[in-house]
Point group: C3
Chain length 177, copies 3
């Protein structure tokens, strides 16, 4: 197996793999939070399987399940923490801690909740890219936020799920360089 | 453009840039939380602009606005999560998730609050350093912590905003080596 | 001092050290959350000292104190954020932000709490490995979660503190490759 064999120093090859593996998880989170299903899908191989709270199935089934669920919410934020990849050739066991915040327009609604999750991912390197073959989204704890969220009260940059989100505008700016 | 051209392997140059860009955001957070305005300022280029909840302006105006706000609180903690930089030559679009906790002495006070933020940063590499040219602090959600915080009840290491914080004491220890 | 001197490019040596230092903190958190005291212990040198909320002492004393405390809880999650290492030869001053969630079976119990912590670590590189010589777990804020946590309501992957946790099953899968 020759993942990263084009780097003279094997330590560099290793670090490059780790960055690519981190990006898989970060891409998943960004895809979920911006409701960009192509981005979510890009985190999995086509035969990928997902085990979630309330869901079990293929990546195609996962997207069909999660997209309407996300569109029923005003927003989500999946914040990553500890990220550790154990790599052997083209296989990797990857654990990523995350805190997932979900909100709707009405602050009293029980659909406002935060959960602690460990993404436990079996990844493989195939045809030049790392992606998830099987994921367990291990739910650690769930906190109701009903009645906890408030309006910030003053104006400022607000998130969007379309091309006008500040991130997407900067990506366009970058591409025009 | 030759950012990192002194590294033989372009993958190394890339990773070195990514670490430098991560450090810009980490330095900002540390500066805010320790109320070290020189550190906050070092995260921006001199012509940097900041778009914040309740604020729009230059880095000089931002410091003038944020410092008294911070001094009116007992403490803050800006915890970073997902960090992704897209780099093209000496320009970068950088997204960093963060959870910002704010507290005052009285646990019942409405100024106790936590918010979810995405720092969306346009950075540039100029004169040997990456720094922010324009930032959008995108407020995702706000949770009131009035009546939620409690005293830990037992003694232990406590944070400080001066040279006696454990971090600053270790930095001094390191410099004396 | 020649930490990482086997890498031709000093930038590579530096990054390799940083990854190793990150792994020390990540290993500590995983050890605590899975109640794997060997893993916790591996984050410290044998003469390591820990300053915690409600505890001061050696790593041996820390393990003797923390293990029964953890077993008295249903689970914990120590999520890392900002991580910055300042390295000078074989010494390092390392700051890691973390959010620590603690829960018991009964959601009303006051032992349900979340705290914000900065791990301020003095690390040394000895006999081929970085580990903690002295740690200050600086407690920033404490939030009671009594009455806040809820059951997710639907089935899904759940955490375990033994070999059946999804992470440990993937590690076994990797070893069999």
């Amino acid at each position: 197996m020759t993942v990263g064999a084009d780097h003279g120093d094997p330590a560099v090859a290793d670090i490059v793999q780790r960055h690519a593996i981190y990006d898989v998880v970060a891409r998943y989170c960004r895809g979920i939070d911006r409701v960009d299903m192509d981005l979510v899908r890009s985190a999995y191989h086509p035969d990928g399987i997902d085990h979630h709270t309330g869901f079990e199935g293929s990546i195609d089934e996962f997207v069909a399940w999660v997209e309407p669920a996300l569109r029923g919410l005003a927003g989500t934020m999946h914040t990553m923490g500890n990220h550790v990849a154990e790599i052997r050739d083209c296989h990797a066991a990857v654990e990523t801690y995350a805190t997932a915040v979900h909100w709707v327009e009405s602050t009293e609604d029980p659909r406002n909740f935060t959960s602690g999750v460990r993404y436990v991912d079996w990844m493989q390197y195939r045809q030049g890219r790392w992606a998830i073959v099987e994921r367990w989204a291990v739910r650690e704890w769930t906190r109701s936020e009903a009645g906890q969220f408030v309006n910030p009260g003053v104006a400022g940059p607000r998130p969007r799920r379309d091309g006008d989100d500040p991130l997407y505008r900067l990506q366009s700016r970058l591409e025009m360089r």
